[in-house]
Homo-oligomer: 232 residues x 2
């Protein structure tokens, strides 16, 4: 039983976000071909049914081809579909959010993407502006109750760096005490060899980032953790 009507085209789009000096930025490229030629657009591509095992696999392949990188954080955002989002007709775009630290993108060489502040978006092709808006909303919301912002930093980072990341995502300062208690960090309580207690959402390493003051402990994260929420 195959569908009796024309199947819509299926593509995968990626809202690749990173943290620049001015806050969250999105990676865009200028389209070479019609439709929407010369317009700014999200990276994306068609599913290769002979090659890709899932839409996430398609997203990873597209990013690998464009940047040589594999994002440490990648999640499906939502599927955008309809008759009018692409002038060629009914289409389906499985949209994803990827987070990659800016330094990693710089190290991988550039020229492929232009980065734009998510709060000052230029005109975009297709429904890509809507995809970016939803992605940013998702990231801001998730940042408010989870350790998601860690994926915008290098693998090891200090608590102050992480706090600044949260502040840049929210666009407002957060209290240092509140921030640390939210993460459950109590370095000193830990027994030798384990520097994060039960409640800690980050993994403490033995390394320190020594600058021109007291060195700060470097932390690491393995999986997304959620902040404690009210019970019933």
């Amino acid at each position: 039983m195959s569908p009796s009507r024309p199947a819509p085209a299926v593509s995968v789009d990626i809202v690749l976000l990173t943290l620049g000096d001015t806050g969250l930025q999105v990676a865009l490229h200028r389209r070479d071909h019609a439709p929407c030629q010369h317009q700014l657009a999200l990276p994306g591509g068609y599913v290769h049914v002979d090659e890709d095992d899932s839409c996430e696999a398609t997203a990873k392949r597209v990013l690998r081809d464009k940047t040589g990188l594999e994002p440490r954080y990648l999640e499906q955002l939502r599927t955008f579909a309809g008759p009018r989002r692409d002038p060629r007709g009914w289409s389906v775009a499985v949209s994803h959010v990827a987070l990659i630290p800016l330094q990693q993108l710089r190290d991988a060489g550039d020229g492929v993407f232009h980065f734009y502040d998510v709060d000052q978006l230029p005109e975009l092709a297709f429904d890509h502006a809507e995809q970016v808006r939803e992605a940013v909303q998702r990231v801001r919301n998730k940042a408010s109750y989870s350790t998601l912002p860690c994926w915008l930093l290098p693998e090891r980072f200090t608590l102050t760096q992480l706090q600044h990341t949260y502040e840049q995502i929210f666009g407002e300062t957060v209290s240092r005490g509140t921030f640390r208690s939210r993460l459950g960090i109590k370095v000193a309580d830990a027994k030798p060899g384990e520097y994060a207690d039960e409640a800690a959402l980050l993994e403490a390493t033995e390394e320190f980032l020594g600058g021109k003051q007291r060195p700060a402990r470097l932390f690491r994260i393995n999986r997304l953790s959620l902040f404690k929420r009210a019970r019933w």
Copy 2:
């Protein structure tokens, strides 16, 4: 520029949940045709590109055709895709969650669906069991911080009915005081004509459900509201 490879088939699946005596139940039907003939499956169907304006529209059409109903709550869950979920090859299923009160389903006539407790799922066709698991997880999680359970009740309901709904979703009792303060309900504080104050997440009506005791005020909901969360 059309894709140079075969396009995967795109369908829409719906995890239709309702509240039975024993808790959350999912609507399943037995498949008439191959593949997975005679197996239990979620309602779903192919996108009609000449008819549907979006995947939500496809979902609504499928539900209308099967039940004659339009769900008051419908949201996209996630898109499931890959080469192995359907024996016919690479496929894409845009999965949705729909909530409909049991009474409404009963009134609409039945026979189409069988209802199964979500915690005692039988074997399902394709990856439908995974879709149900994710949908239930989403609903349970969202119930913990929002008024989502309201959509499992008739349009007007009492606070006690709503509390029982939360309890059935969670599978545990909740304190009446905690429950009411979470919803910001303070009926008496309201000025004449408005029975819900600023903080209230429900809209109070002027009607009461009189049983064999003190009548309970009926409430209504217009949009999903989120409980207050910790500030930064």
